[in-house]
Symmetry: C2
Subunit: 155 residues, 2 copies
DNA sequence: TATTGTTATACTCTATAACTATA
DNA sequence: TATAGTTATAGAGTATAACAATA
């Protein structure tokens, strides 16, 4: 298949739509007082309670110093708690608070509406096809639900 | 269709893959000494030779002051020329140089390889399906080839 | 001596607003 | 007076490196 056969391509529209979707999602999470990156942190901590800040930095692929401000915001908002590790007192074990778990439920509702919005214009068969194809690509590239390559930087 | 039926969703993988594709493309254009935003400018100027900086700012949805540095870089590289308008000497008419047109051809080659990379893992039928579905979504949202919502900011 | 979290600093990039030249 | 392009300034956000506490 030559480039002539695929004038549209997929990379460019993927980039356009991905950016569009990210911006819309950011607008929605802003109403909860959260950035998409903070939502990502909450999701990670739900699956890995007690993760250290260093460990979180590694998962996110960002500098450890960035985690400080990120967690500061979530802690001030009351969604995350820092606990001095009893086994190694250098570590902070990061855990969701009840409010943190609660806001994650609200995020799910928002994400639902968001997904509907992005899918608008597709019928059910098209939606399923698209979901399958995108899932195939993300899996092929090792992109798990945890790691959003954009959450290393704010969006 | 409920959210339960579509656990995967499309918005999140779109955002992930879009970001991934954008980063990979940025890595490729960097070898030409161009940012994706600058490539976007070259594409726009090819279609709208003589566009003013103000007009370009409007197309990109960014502040006019940002255009200055953007065009400075392209002009220094020899890809774009500023021409004082003869009809209104306040305006700069922006036009591609021969080198600018030439580098756009190199961009096309790069974009080809990039598209292949992003599509890796899909067979031809899947590729065509995906291209069609993405195209349907971009058209529904008024995203033309010119306007990439991310090019208002660097990526 | 090495590591965790934190802070200090420098850097990149943007938008707002002031400035000039033209109209 | 209004507009195009430019420059000055401030703001947001990041990473690197220095620092204190702990191992």
């Amino acid at each position: 298949m030559t480039f002539q056969d695929r004038r549209q391509g997929i990379a460019y529209p993927l980039s356009q739509l991905g950016n569009f979707a990210a911006r819309r999602f950011a607008a929605r999470t802003q109403e909860l007082g959260l950035t998409p990156a903070q939502v990502g942190v909450l999701r990670i901590l739900r699956n890995r309670p007690g993760l250290s800040q260093r460990g979180l930095a590694e998962v996110l692929g960002s500098a450890p110093s960035r985690i400080v401000a990120l967690i500061d915001g979530l802690q001030t908002a009351g969604f995350v708690q820092r606990r001095r590790s009893t086994t190694d007192r250098r570590n902070h074990e990061l855990v969701l608070t009840d409010d943190g778990a609660s806001v994650l439920h609200q995020v799910r509702t928002i994400a639902e509406a968001h997904d509907e919005e992005i899918a608008e214009g597709l019928d059910e068969a098209e939606y399923n096809d698209l979901a399958r194809l995108l899932n195939k690509l993300t899996r092929a590239r090792g992109l798990t639900h945890d790691v959003h390559p954009g959450y290393s930087a704010p969006e």
